[in-house]
Symmetry: C2
Subunit: 292 residues, 2 copies
Amino acid sequence: MLDNRVKTFMKAVDAGSFSRASKDLFISSVSIKKQMDSLESELGVQLLERTNRGVKPTVAGEIFYGSAARANQLSEHALRQIRGLSHQEKPTVKVGTSLLRPCSRFLDIWTRAGSSDEFSIEIVPFEDGEKLDKVIANLGNGIDCFLGPCDAPRWFKLCSVLKLGFYDCAIAVPRRHVLSEKSHLAWDDLEGQSLMLIEKGTSPVLDSLRSEIESRHPSINVVDTPTVYGIDTFNQCEREGIFMETLDVWRDVHPGFATLPMEWDYRIPYGLFYSKNPSDRMARFVDLLTEG
Amino acid sequence: MLDNRVKTFMKAVDAGSFSRASKDLFISSVSIKKQMDSLESELGVQLLERTNRGVKPTVAGEIFYGSAARANQLSEHALRQIRGLSHQEKPTVKVGTSLLRPCSRFLDIWTRAGSSDEFSIEIVPFEDGEKLDKVIANLGNGIDCFLGPCDAPRWFKLCSVLKLGFYDCAIAVPRRHVLSEKSHLAWDDLEGQSLMLIEKGTSPVLDSLRSEIESRHPSINVVDTPTVYGIDTFNQCEREGIFMETLDVWRDVHPGFATLPMEWDYRIPYGLFYSKNPSDRMARFVDLLTEG
DNA sequence: CATCCTTACGTAAACCGTAACTATC
DNA sequence: GATAGTTACGGTTTACGTAAGGATG
């Protein structure tokens, strides 16, 4: 309900600096600066005093902040009220889905849990292109939750995660490679190959895989990816013809790869990502899944 | 402070249809429709029931309208408060200026009125390209007032106008025409020429000029312009080489014309355009000019 | 058929991000 | 040199308008 710039203003005041606010909002500090300039010039009043140590609201800024906060409360209350009556029979949970965070397994779990009586589910697609951090930061608006691998500890700072099961680690082999014809791989097959693996320190499971490779299969050439796999990662590996550590659920992400099981037992836990401050509705939903 | 779409939503509910609201807001009904679609999809709730006779808020829409109205009140109160304290010494009045609504004469009047002690003036340029209606509808935000010809009664529906003086009607002659060399024109010079004149029914003064031409100088070919002169009007006449009825203040608008006085006494009143619901500050300012 | 909402499509403006710069501690 | 805000520039998205379509009384 409030203008975006006003919300940004509040975050900037809370954070005490544009740069800190930019981390909360997942946009650049430049953008925040320009939003504040625009807001101030529209109001014709300076709201923030900028120093080299951060920003501080002016007197006008403090008054504005107060009103904005009250208006925000008002609007949030109204939205809760509205959402409540729009689905009078069953509350709805919006489950995000994307190529790399498919919700296929979720539907099984959900129906088994018997929560289908109390909730209705709405599937909302989202783009893998957007920063995942941004999607996670906005859980509760638009998307209530999604399913994804949750091995990396970094997610736990940003949202709550309900562990639900495991994905098997596998190897994605470029189709043009002879090995892609095989039905499963063994360590011997990998000797001398390049293997894409997520940056060290991101995932405990993959760190131990990395250790095993380094100590026992040193001929495998490990290549680092950024901390989060994206479609780009698949494209890049396909172009360069190198193997990837991947997950069974990502079997159909890129047609240029054959996803083959490997003679190991590495598994990555997956879970339901939802807001740190879940709505009552969402909290109840998680309870149902936990019991089930 | 509120999101634009929310303000549009309120107007749409007030007006009862997108098309009527589009006239109030000076944007197309298409744009309103898309704003409402976007708002509804963001909230995940339908706010408006659309029929072929207009739109009507749903139950959710009525609740939302109520909260939005309260939030709007809140924000307007805060803005008044803020604006009040930001210019502690002197309140500022923002005077709009454009090629066709120059503020040159205003400065004389203002200093003579002695109001320079109480107010400070800020000159804010605006584009003649934008619909003048839109500028007028938004007086009070960004621009508090501007100076312009105020003969046409239609303005009085949209805003308040304080009459301040008169512009002399003159003739703009394309430079390539021999008559442009003269220092002033007489009726004889115009016989057989084409003369651009504002559409009948727009301005009483120009309507009487038109009558005089029709009855006493029928050889002059009167060409209609749209109800408001724009830069385009000058460009068009320059291209087509036809004379224009113009004002002395528009002498320097287009280099392709010589603006010559004419042997007549037609004058168009000009005045200060300001909001129908002026702020206290603006009302006080108008008072000062009236006294002076 | 008049009125209103909707769809399609091209243009114009707003938004955001990277990178380079400045100032202060 | 570390950390803040600012400026400049380029690409992308969003917003808006015109024109044409479609539904309803």
